[in-house]
């Protein structure tokens, strides 16, 4: 079944169509949300939520842009919502609980070859910059697709990526790491 056929089936409420879309895009959605939120556990939750949203909102997808662009837009917005909520929770003084989970996840990240220093550096980048940077560097999306996904101007996407990179370089140098060691 092709992606278009799967989308059509999904529109008709057929779960087999959703399964095909899930198999095609699950890894990228998972990776993107993992990097955005810094936790594998949260990424798994996001994966579920996003594909439920896809099933509910597929009728709104008109096909003007690529399905992956539409999907990443939804994923990024969902992650940004979670990060915003976390900020509120932290502001209210409940920030200690997620930290325990983060420590476990950084251990898992090490097992998978993901540098905890980089994970920490990523955590400190502002959300929009992080989203642009991750879509570009990890998902290898074009600037145009990122702009469409995040509903930003092309210039804004480029400047967000540039700032994120500059921040990462600065952070890693402060940590005493040369970029080759990362």
């Amino acid at each position: 079944m092709t992606e278009l056929e799967a989308i059509e089936r999904c529109r008709q409420g057929d779960i087999s169509g959703l399964h095909v879309l899930y198999d095609l895009h699950r890894t990228k959605v998972y990776h993107l949300s993992w990097r955005m939120l810094g936790s594998q556990h949260d990424a798994e939750d996001v994966l579920q939520e996003i594909f439920l949203k896809v099933f509910d909102r597929i009728k709104n997808y008109r096909g003007d842009s690529a399905f992956s662009t539409w999907l990443y837009r939804m994923t990024t917005n969902h992650c940004l919502d979670i990060l915003r909520r976390r900020k509120i929770v932290a502001f209210l003084g409940f920030e200690n609980a997620p930290e325990v989970e983060d420590k476990k996840d950084s251990a898992k990240a090490m097992d998978l070859g993901f540098s905890p220093v980089l994970a920490k550096a990523l955590e400190k980048i502002p959300e929009k910059q992080k989203a642009c940077f991750l879509l570009r560097e990890m998902e290898e999306m074009s600037y145009e697709d990122i702009a469409e996904s995040l509903q930003l101007s092309l210039g804004s996407v480029k400047s967000n990526i540039h700032r994120a990179k500059a921040y990462l370089k600065e952070y890693l140098e402060k940590e005493g790491l040369t970029l080759k060691d990362v």
Binding site: I15, L18, H19, Y22, R26, T27, Y30, H31, R35, Q40, E44, L47, Q48, F51, L52, F55, L112, G113, F114, S115, L118, L134, E137, M138, E139, E140, K165, L168, K169, T178, L179, K180, V182
Partner: protein
Amino acid sequence: MDHKLKEINLTETFRKMGRITVDPQVFNRAWFKVEERIAARQRPLLGHLVWKPWGHPIRWAAAAVLLFAAYSGVLYNNLQEQDNLGEYVETISNPIDNLAKDTGIVHLSPLISEAPAPFRELLLSDENADNLANDDLSI
């Protein structure tokens, strides 16, 4: 030149990170939950049994009306019971006063007003008296 080389390495590192293989169990588990949640939504009976008044403002109003009706019903019932009890207590606590208030209608007990039963004489006569009782008397 050196700066350019560093930037390429950073990009490569991140792209490598984006290709990290994830345990397929994670994806299977997530898909199972997605399927389960969609199936749960499609069960019409359960969906109708669970009423969530917080889902819509009109439901809030409906819930408020129901609560008000139930509360006023209970209140009305309590007031009725209190009135009945008050009337009863008043009646039994001051019978003379109640007699004074009597409007002249006399309610006689059927024991007084009705004619005696026809078998009364039969009960008083010794005609059918027990023989054994007669023996006892003779002793």
